[in-house]
């Protein structure tokens, strides 16, 4: 199954205005009244939780109402429809996409991907011994900054049964497990991407089933830090970060949000192909990050102007 990754997450929220403002402050761009997108067109849709067009919520009341995957072509959409209709209802929607439940009750959609190919440089660095990535007289940073999330990266679900979840995504949809935390959950990537993960699970009691966080890829660690700092300056509250994960090597910074889940910035994730052998580690702080920084207000040595 040539699934590329998440194209869109659809939310049914309590405070629509706050969520839309958050989306803009995070760096997404308005596509239409309810759709907010990153540079490659992937993004989120924000509706009120009582909107009649939304699929029913999970019993936990999670605001994530649907995860739509982008796939390579119409043949893949049809292959997924054929596979899933063996044991469940698969709806075809007016836009040609299909909709079905996964084995845990999350609503999934599949469509020919809307993800556009990006042709952009990554953040550049210079280091002794390596050819400069940034030429002479080109500066690395500027205070003049707008966050530009590039692509919807991954979503993390709270699920009661990780074995069932992993089996569904691997056996029915062709996802591959790249690494796992013992007893907590696997990191998975679909066949159509090399990204370390587009999906991760955390084992929880059934009443918690829902979404832990979602995130977009940024151009590099500087953009993660600068974008996160800009959110802090706007009054948003950090949940965890900035730091760098071990599994996936991605930089992270998580923020609390009015979406009923955390929203992350990430950058510089490892790529893997089928020759990679999944690692396993015990969950916990030591195996979750190589380091964790914590934000404080901008500061400089020397005190206020005029003080020695």
């Amino acid at each position: 199954m040539n699934i590329i990754g998440p194209d869109k997450l659809i939310f049914g929220v309590d405070d629509v205005a706050a969520c839309k403002q958050f989306a803009l402050d995070y760096g997404l761009v308005t596509k239409d009244e309810q759709n907010y997108v990153s540079l490659d067109g992937t993004g989120i849709e924000i509706l009120h939780k009582d909107d009649a067009s939304l699929p029913a919520p999970l019993p936990s009341g999670s605001m994530l109402r649907k995860t739509i995957y982008g796939v390579a072509d119409q043949a893949t959409v049809e292959a997924i429809a054929a596979e899933l209709s063996k044991d469940r209802e698969v709806k075809t929607l007016a836009d040609g996409s299909i909709e079905a439940l996964d084995d845990l009750g999350f609503v999934l959609g599949f469509q020919v991907t809307i993800r556009q190919t990006l042709d952009l440089p990554a953040e550049t660095i210079n280091a002794p011994g390596a050819a400069p990535q940034r030429g002479v007289n080109l500066t690395g940073v500027s205070k003049d900054f707008t966050a530009k999330p590039r692509s919807l990266s991954h979503v993390v679900y709270f699920v009661p049964d990780i074995e069932k979840a992993e089996a569904f995504y691997s056996e029915r949809l062709g996802f591959v497990t790249t690494d796992r935390f013992t007893g907590t959950g696997p990191f998975m990537r679909p066949a159509g991407t090399l990204d370390h993960h587009t999906l991760f699970f955390l084992k929880t009691p059934p009443f918690m089933q829902g979404v832990e966080h979602f995130t977009f890829h940024m151009s590099g660690p500087t953009e993660v830090s600068q974008a996160g700092y800009a959110l802090v300056e706007k009054g948003y509250q950090s949940f965890w970060g900035p730091g760098r994960h071990i599994f996936g090597s991605n930089w992270f910074w998580y923020f609390k949000s009015p979406f009923g889940c955390n929203i992350e910035y990430d950058a510089d994730m490892d790529l893997h192909d089928d020759s990679w052998e999944a690692r396993e580690a015990l969950p916990g702080a030591d195996n979750s990050q190589v380091f964790l920084l914590q934000s404080r207000e901008k500061w400089a040595p020397g005190g206020p102007p005029g003080k020695p």
């Binding site: 309590d14 958050f22 009341g61 829902g210 009054g235 509250q237 609390k256 009015p258 889940c261 207000e297």
Partner: protein, 120 residues
Amino acid sequence: MGKLWLGNVSDIADGQAKGFDPNHSGSDTFFIVRQGNELFAYVDICPHYNDTSLPWKRHHYLDSASDYIVCAAHGALFEINNGDCVQGPCKGQKLSKIPLEVSSQQEIWISLTTIKEFNL
């Protein structure tokens, strides 16, 4: 034992909440919700992970209808009057409630013993 003045009841609009940081730690350590003329104060720590604060922005502790206290990390909902978590990851657990004093002039006070006891 001394006490600390937190402001007047009228500083918090009905159906709104406000965070406080009495020791200037850089983030709020407790918050007060006003419902009518009643005030409810809780430690700003969500029982889900037991070491993270609730709001996504300063003072944003309530849902849009002001019916529940919300933890913005994973959407837990808590009853305003008793701090019980009724939906979300910490269902069945509760926020830790803090005693306040309200004077006849509608001034809000917290005792230094409370600040110490709850590590505010």
